[in-house]
Symmetry: C2
Subunit: 130 residues, 2 copies
């Protein structure tokens, strides 16, 4: 079959908790990874929780990046959903690994999304680029 | 082991394309589903693509809802990531199914995220609720 998207989920264990405590750092790390992967960033929304924790989402023209960080567990969950072949996932995964100083990275799933019997794919185009 | 979160991915095939074409409808459907599931909505961000397509994210206190809709394929990909036991996932899944008029729903994955050897869990608290 033909798939519209690819979705990978990544577990970052044993991260530097001081990084995960800081919403602005987590946001800039995710934005940097998205940029380095070749994604076209449309917008981002990050939220700081109390007493700690960060959730964030970047909508890209090619779908999304999300992160949920639990500094108290030195852990962050990252998802990357992409509908484009030209996104360099390895670059994004390793960029985040380095910036979070994660000592154990697990790609917990890598799946096709929107599996169609046949068809012609390709990403949606950003209306802002018309 | 102990898991910090639960992440399910849902494929909605054979949807009503007129619904998927409309960003505002897709956003209100996702917000309604999140509310009905018992989630605490923090913010939402939805984007209309041209010539068609919608991407959207809702950050909830308990993690996130995301959607990517391909009206030309009558298909939408939805993810729900939650760190709370009190979120009613079935209610959310069926609410979206009914509103999208999807005739084929596939729960393509249901996984634990952030599996720790032991520990005490619970969600992050929203700083706005302090």
């Amino acid at each position: 079959g033909f798939a519209l998207g690819r979705h990978i989920t990544i577990e970052y264990y044993d991260c530097a908790s001081d990084v995960l405590l800081d919403k602005d750092r987590v946001e800039s790390i995710l934005l940097k990874a998205a940029r380095e992967s070749g994604a076209t960033i449309i917008n981002s929304s990050f939220h700081q929780f109390e007493p700690q924790g960060v959730s964030g989402v970047i909508i890209i023209a090619e779908s999304h990046f999300t992160v949920h960080a639990w500094p108290e567990h030195d852990y962050a969950a990252v998802d990357i959903f992409t509908c484009a072949d030209n996104i360099d996932l390895d670059t994004a995964i390793h960029s985040i690994e380095a910036q979070f100083s994660s000592r154990r990275v697990v790609i917990s799933s890598d799946q096709n999304r929107g599996v169609l019997p046949s068809g012609v794919g390709g990403c949606m185009t950003n209306s802002d680029e018309k």
